[in-house]
Amino acid sequence: MSESPNTLMVDQTEPAAEAAAEVRRRGPLWTVIGTGLVMLAVPFLADTFWLQLGLFAMAAAVAALGLTLLLGQAGQLSLGHAFFLAVGAYGYTFLAGQSGRLGGGFALPPTLAAVLAVLLAGAAGLLFSPIAARLRGIYLGIATLGLVFLGQHILDNAPRITGGDNGRSVPVFTLGGLRFGSDPDQPQYLLNVLWGREQKLWYLFLLVTVVAYLYFRNLVRGRPGRALRAVRDRELMAGIIGVPVNRYKAYAFLISSMYAGLGGVLYAIAFRRIVPETFGVGLSIEYLAMVVIGGLGVAGGAVAGATFIAFLPPILERHAGLLPGLAPTTGTSGISPPVAAKFIFGAAVVALLLFEPGGLAGLGRRVSRALATRRRRPAHPR
């Protein structure tokens, strides 16, 4: 095999151009404020079904940020994301859970349990990093596949942690005196809106997602981000100019696994009940699809991709009648909504990689650039 630079499909623009695009992308402040206000207003407008979906999407977005850091910025392929999600989800559930007939637990305060679960995911990532740091991107992809299967095996054989095949319910999250659960006996109202679990969790998740997002952007813009991209684009050159290649690869893997762990904690809290099967190879592939669909290496892309993948199956389910050939329920002939969702995201991955490697983010950039040039140019040149 010839030596080809280990470049990825992300826009391979010069660093200067990348920085310029970054400044351009920062864009008008009012878009940020507008989006923020809309996000804050959502619990007052949307019903529980959509709020719950939003929670899933935010949990997925946090974990996807980790994968897009590893794959898009550091150029390391991982199919093991589901494993770290599982560590986060089960870490939280076990640490915060009561020890009972169906499973063990430490009954720690949920906040502490959540933090420890993220650290646990980081520790798992660190344990694997001797392998992760030495392998090239593609070898790592397959090696991490092993991680998912080993993780599944452990979960299958640890009923004290998982509560067996039927899953285990997740302890309600509390922060200080605030309890993020539903209380059917004493319904609370805020501005005439029933203020239940989803509404409260919405703000918690929003906060966590925004912090995760900002941390990612800072990391990518700073020295570590530049080092990671150097390792991605030309490992040898990066080493020569003094980037400790192996350490940065391990670092990317560590941060990525912690993001996944945090995503797992959120996922568990949003779902209220977790089963081991969820965290299989299929989940890893879904995350891969998210970051590819959204646009690799870009924070906004990870969020967009996560939203797309989270909302696709329920929307298809709700509007099954509108699409020809879609069967309303599973089991009948025709294509059931979950199957259709899989077809769509598989096809989206293939099509985007073939035609728009930048993903949704790339599409957006192209559109906004086209709009900008049109605005700059007078409609009727003299």
Binding site: S2, L8, Y139, F149, L150, I154, A347, V350
Partner: protein, 299 residues
């Protein structure tokens, strides 16, 4: 002792099947530089075609097998021509992720077709009959797998060594630029590799789905995935390594299954993750596999 011998033979037979899969995986990687995650999909397509054609009345099994091998080869060719070739020059990771997309689409469709029954029987001539050799009791399917695997592997290496195509393939793998200057078309050679990989995967698919497995199941894809650790253990760019890796995976899996009661501290069903455990252990010592070329950089 009998148990050990029996496990070794069935492990070698399973290993021969994994080796066929890993071999296809490796030749695709060597000739086009793509890690083909759609490899299990080719296996599923091949096995599904064999089962469906075989269940039609008055079709001899051999014809069904040929149909499955042919269909898998054609699908592999289409994937290479329509999806992989247009991405030439792009990063290998991008192309590999694209093949994951192909795999998702194909697997979803096959699993949907398998339907709620849960499996499609293969209608092979061996059924669940066994052969007794000395004290050993071996299913006919295992012996057939071992023989067919050995013959195909041998044939492949003879082909690779002596045929024009084989020489071209080795030339491309060795030095694509020089090979191109000598008039070897890389795209044609890699198309050939994809077709071969698809056909080998179909044969492997047959032997993964016959007795003791009830037939083609959704879980067959997970079994097929174990060819990845096999290829990695041997080294992604080593054809010989793929054979060794396949056999190692097959034998260790078989032993772990046979001695499950002694290994109960590792948890129930450990044999199914054994390939991955072996892979991780090998990677810790040798990051490019047992026989993989160490990557050298020229500055």
């Amino acid at each position: 002792m009998t148990l050990l011998l029996q496990l070794l033979v069935s492990g070698l037979s399973l290993g021969a099947v994994y080796a066929l899969l890993a071999l296809g995986f490796v030749i695709v990687f060597k000739s086009s530089g793509v890690v083909n995650f759609a490899h299990p999909a080719f296996l599923m397509i091949g096995a599904y075609t064999i089962a469906r054609v075989g269940s039609a009345a008055q079709v001899p099994f051999l014809l069904a097998l040929l149909a499955g091998v042919g269909v898998a080869g054609v699908v592999a060719l289409l994937v290479q021509r329509l999806l992989v070739y247009p991405m030439a020059g792009r990063s290998l990771i991008a192309v590999s992720i694209m093949t994951i997309g192909v795999d998702v689409i194909t697997q979803t469709e096959i699993i949907r077709r398998i339907g709620l029954d849960g499996y499609v029987p293969m209608r092979d001539p061996w059924g669940d009959r066994v052969v007794r050799i000395g004290g050993l009791v071996l299913p006919q399917t295992r012996i057939a797998a071992l023989l067919v695997g050995a013959v195909l592997i041998l044939a492949f290496f003879v082909w690779l060594r002596y045929s024009r195509w084989g020489v071209a393939m080795r030339a491309v793998a060795d030095d694509p630029q020089t090979a191109a200057l000598m008039g070897v078309r890389r795209s044609t050679v890699s198309a050939m590799a994809w077709v071969l990989a698809g056909m080998l995967a179909a044969v492997a698919g047959l032997f993964i789905t016959v007795f003791p497995s009830p037939g083609l199941q959704p879980v067959t894809a997970a079994v097929a995935l174990r060819a990845f650790p096999a290829a990695i253990i041997g080294g992604l760019d080593s054809t010989g390594g793929a054979i060794v890796g396949g056999l190692v995976i097959g034998v260790t899996e078989s032993l772990a299954q046979g001695y499950a009661t002694d290994l109960s501290f590792l948890g129930a069903g450990f044999h199914s993750v054994m390939p991955y455990a072996v892979m991780v252990a090998v990677l810790l010592v040798r990051p490019s596999g047992l026989f993989g070329a160490k990557e050298l950089h020229r500055v």
